[in-house]
């Protein structure tokens, strides 16, 4: 037996007291572990949210968003200097156009519905209505068929980026050569079904015959699945919008450089473009999670301090109670270091046993408490859909609140380190007291 095993054995000297100490200390350490697990889970969610946003900046012609607004489109030559801005990893140029029944034989897979008819009527009226109207004098909203959207791109590395969709994949065929000026197209799955198209089929657009080289699908996204993708040069030439671009997606090397790169692009393009990034929306969305993360950190530190204080008081009490015993140890030849090490061993044993209890409490309590913390946070995350869906890829408020707490090795290691630290801090005062005890005082107390 040595000081270490004596320390361990001393832990169990009094069963009821040992149980009480381990239980109280275990609760405190359990709270600390729960908060560490909650913080880890929330931080992982934040990282996940950040990675889902992607490091991209959207550049649109000033005053134009999709087919709404007014002004002049951007040109390829205007966008060319963006590539040389630091941190820019690539520029995807996009030109979108609508194919009506007059310039394609394709039938949209989307039914107009009340919304489509209303929008078409407003659009027609904005041109003066009647014979002056956008759709001519015979326009009847009840027979209106939505146009087919064709998207011209100069790069097609990522369908989601081009389509503003989530998990869009090529279900058959291959990608088009986006740098070519061929009459080839990727067709959305709904549009392909509606028009009986498959890979190798042809259709007419702008009085030209296009060949379907691939079919794509984005889950639960009827709008995207009713569109076409073609090389941008082809769309520019056929739609008589040579060199024009309706928007561009600029890739940035790190999310940390989004703001600075956005400012640099704005300065390059001046008032000709609206330059937006997802940073602001992301910041708003994850700010409640960051609050939970900070709160968890504060609580875990607080619980660790409380645990240290508990073990400190316990060890002080034990040392006071065993003054004579410590005097005996010193009288028969033990050094201060040996006696301190024995009591430190006792404190570490108490703390490790309490950590085990705390770990069990942590594993059982981390998920419900994390869920409670996150659900009670005042999340301002977009609820999905619209720009929110485009930016967050469906990462809405509900998704952000779905935080699953799991015990990882890192938490176990942190917990162990914190426990040992708690034990050492808790032993400090008692060690000081041990060093002050003189064996002669014990003799006098005889």
């Amino acid at each position: 037996m040595n000081f270490f095993t004596r320390g361990i054995r001393n832990t169990f000297r009094n069963g009821i007291r040992t149980f009480s100490i381990i239980f109280i200390l275990g609760l405190s350490i359990g709270l600390c572990i729960i908060m560490l697990i909650a913080r880890d889970a929330v931080n992982k969610k934040i990282v996940e949210a950040k990675s889902s946003v992607g490091n991209s900046i959207t550049v649109r012609p000033a005053g134009i968003n999709g087919f709404e607004g007014g002004g002049s489109l951007l040109t390829t030559s205007q966008l060319a200097p963006i590539s040389s801005i630091p941190h820019v990893t690539g520029v995807t140029e996009i030109l979108t156009d609508r194919l009506s029944s007059s310039n394609t034989n394709l039938v949209s897979s989307i039914t107009a519905g009340s919304f489509g008819r209303r929008q078409a009527n407003i659009s027609n009226q904005s041109f003066g209505g009647g014979s002056q109207g956008r759709f001519g004098g015979s326009f009847d909203p009840s027979t209106f068929t939505p146009p087919v959207t064709i998207t011209g791109v100069n790069k097609l590395n990522d369908l989601d980026t081009v389509l503003g969709a989530t998990s869009a994949t090529l279900t058959s065929g291959k990608l088009i050569d986006a740098n070519s000026s061929t009459y080839t197209a990727l067709v959305g799955s709904d549009l392909a079904t509606k028009n009986n198209l498959k890979v190798g089929s042809t259709f007419n657009a702008y009085s030209q015959t296009f060949t379907v080289v691939g079919i794509f699908n984005s889950p639960n996204n009827q709008f995207v699945n009713s569109g076409l993708i073609a090389p941008i040069t082809t769309v520019q030439n056929l739609s008589t919008q040579t060199d024009q671009v309706s928007n561009a997606i600029v890739g940035v090397d790190s999310i940390d450089n989004l703001d600075s790169t956005t400012n640099a692009i704005s300065q390059k393009l001046g008032s000709a473009a609206d330059v937006v990034n997802s940073q602001t929306q992301l910041t708003n969305a994850i700010s409640p999670l960051k609050s939970v993360s900070s709160l968890s950190l504060i609580c875990s530190i607080g619980a660790a301090i409380a645990s240290s204080f508990i073990i400190l008081l316990i060890m002080v009490m034990i040392v006071r109670e065993r003054r004579r015993e410590i005097g005996v140890y010193k009288a028969i030849g033990a050094s201060n270091i040996t006696v301190m090490a024995q009591f430190a061993s006792e404190a570490v044993t108490f703390t490790l046993l309490a950590s085990l209890v705390g770990l069990i409490i942590g594993v059982l309590g981390s998920n419900p408490i994390t869920t409670l913390l996150v659900s009670n946070s005042n999340s301002t995350a977009p609820a999905g859909g619209g720009f929110g869906r485009r930016v967050f890829g469906g990462f809405g408020a509900n998704n952000l609140r779905q935080v699953h707490a799991a015990v990882g090795w890192n938490i176990l290691i942190y917990g162990l380190l914190v426990s040992v630290l708690i034990a050492l801090v808790g032993s400090l005062l008692s060690s000081f007291m041990i060093a002050k005890i003189r064996p002669a005082e014990v003799m006098r107390a005889e």
Binding site: K330, I332, G333, A334, P439, M443, R444
Partner: protein, 222 residues
């Protein structure tokens, strides 16, 4: 040989100084069995503390085997206590959660003896002081007062010290057990080649030792 010269130990500040030990000098030969008697507060326990290096004298010297322990540094005092001194206390002061065997092995652990030697020597010593083998694994709470004091004596002998200091070793025992313990100490002073100094109130016991010192108000009067 133990030689004490002009030993003084005072407590308190200038205004209220108390000399617990006041200019004491004496010599004790090796293997002697010595008693110190005196009333409560006469300075017996303080003298014992000074001889056992549990306390430092205000002035004077305590020479054991040619070394003045009053001049030793703290770490040397620990070694001195460990290797040269054995203590026997009135209330035994055994470590309550260690067995009789482990209590006796303890000083040898501090002297860095091997575990095998510790166990062998502790078993021999416990046998020598009359503790039967079946009581070796018992904790102090399961032993009688006399048995506990025997274990304490075995512990004091563990590192074969030059000097054993016993503070009222029979004070908590009945007369029969007290006599047995006294006889044991007397025997050990011869068989273990150690000097034993016993502090006691019992004049009968004091009369049976090789030498007896009497203390009064911190001074040696006999």
């Amino acid at each position: 040989m133990l030689e004490v010269k002009n030993l003084v130990r005072t407590f308190g500040s200038d205004g209220s100084k108390v000399s617990a030990v006041n200019d004491i000098s004496f010599k004790v030969e090796d293997n002697a069995f010595v008693s110190i008697i005196g009333k409560s507060g006469s300075g017996k326990s303080t003298l014992l503390s000074l001889l056992g290096a549990l306390d430092k004298p205000t002035s004077g010297s305590i020479v054991v085997d040619g070394t003045d322990i009053a001049q030793l540094k703290d770490h040397s005092l620990i070694k001195y206590r460990c290797n040269k001194i054995g203590f026997v206390f009135q209330s035994y002061n055994l470590i309550p959660n260690l067995t009789a065997l482990e209590n006796v092995m303890l000083p040898m652990e501090f002297a860095k003896s091997s575990r095998f030697n510790r166990k062998k020597r502790a078993t021999e010593l416990l046998k020598e002081v009359g503790i039967t083998e079946d009581k070796l694994p018992r904790k102090p709470g399961k032993l009688s007062g006399g048995e506990q004091q025997r274990v304490a004596i075995a512990r004091a002998l563990a590192n074969s010290p030059k000097l054993i200091l016993a503070d009222e070793p029979t004070g908590n025992l009945d007369s029969e057990n007290g006599k047995m313990i006294f006889d044991l100490l007397h025997k050990l002073s011869k068989t273990e080649n150690t000097t034993i100094i016993v502090v006691t109130h019992d004049l009968t016991i004091a009369g049976k030792t090789d030498r007896s010192f009497k203390l009064s108000d911190g001074k040696l009067i006999k």
